[in-house]
């Protein structure tokens, strides 16, 4: 079965998409299904930014071991995003600090920005998907 986006030439300009990740990677499915959107969306060659804040910063923490909870550890997929030209990853400083984390604890290179800078970055976007 062919997918709808394979049939038609997509019309429209390149837009600034931001995916806001606010929830822990396990416990709910939001993080995993958000990542699935990002991967599919990469085919549309839009201007993509990922933001991690609140418990969302745990999605990209190193050393995740999910064996005991019987759920797939999908954190390695974030390292593959570069191959999809998804390279703008921003993490909110306050969210990291309040959880005792630094950029060195993360599986991917990110830019750490303040809450205020994050607000400015959101202001620049055209489409914001918050998960």
């Amino acid at each position: 079965m062919s997918e709808p986006w394979e049939d038609d030439e997509l019309e429209g300009p390149v837009r600034k998409f931001m995916y806001v990740n606010r929830k822990a990677p396990y416990g709910t499915i939001y993080a995993l299904e958000s990542l699935e959107v990002v991967l599919i969306a990469a085919a549309f060659e839009q201007d993509v930014t990922l933001a991690f804040l609140d418990d969302g910063v745990y999605q990209i923490v190193k050393g995740q071991d999910t064996e005991e909870i019987g759920v797939k550890n999908f954190s390695p997929i974030y390292r593959a995003l570069e191959g999809y030209d998804v390279e703008k990853l921003f993490v909110e400083k306050e969210s990291l600090e309040s959880r005792g984390l630094t950029a060195d604890d993360l599986v991917v290179p990110v830019e750490v920005i303040s809450r205020e800078q994050m607000a400015d970055l959101m202001e620049e976007q055209e489409v914001i998907l918050s998960f």
Binding site: G12, V37, I40, F44, L129, F131
Partner: protein, 130 residues
């Protein structure tokens, strides 16, 4: 204004499902165009016709179906999220070897590309969820 709607929560469990339909109604009444309503995460559960809420309660799926009929709305259920949660149309049921389908009238199952396309082509994408 051309709007698209993203519904990320299931019916009855979460206010987002009700708010999304109320917002959609209000936008249509104000003369806005709704390009698409996309259902993701547990939001796909809005699209099952097998829900039987108590008689003195609202039926959210039937509300969507009626609204879609009246305004020719495009109600799209994400295929990946739907497969996980057992929301199937006739084709998918056949393809997956399941013994029945449960998609409600007015809804169709398609890919996440439909959400991204809505984001690109609408003036605003309005997200309802947690």
């Amino acid at each position: 204004m051309k709007l698209s709607i993203l519904v990320n929560e299931g019916p009855y469990q979460h206010q987002a499902a009700d708010t999304a339909i109320q917002f959609t109604k209000a936008a249509l009444e104000k003369g806005h165009e709704i390009m698409r309503v996309f259902f993701y995460h547990d939001g796909v559960n809005n699209g099952t016709r097998f829900g039987v809420p108590p008689q003195d309660d609202r039926n959210i799926t039937e509300q969507w179906t009626a609204l879609a009929k009246e305004h020719d709305l495009d109600l799209v259920v994400c295929i990946a999220a739907a497969q996980r949660r057992g929301i199937l149309d006739e084709n998918e049921a056949k393809r997956q070897g399941k013994d029945g389908d449960n998609i409600a009238e007015g809804f169709r199952i398609s890919g996440l590309g439909q959400l991204i396309e809505a984001g690109i082509q609408s003036d605003r994408l309005v997200v309802f969820g947690d």
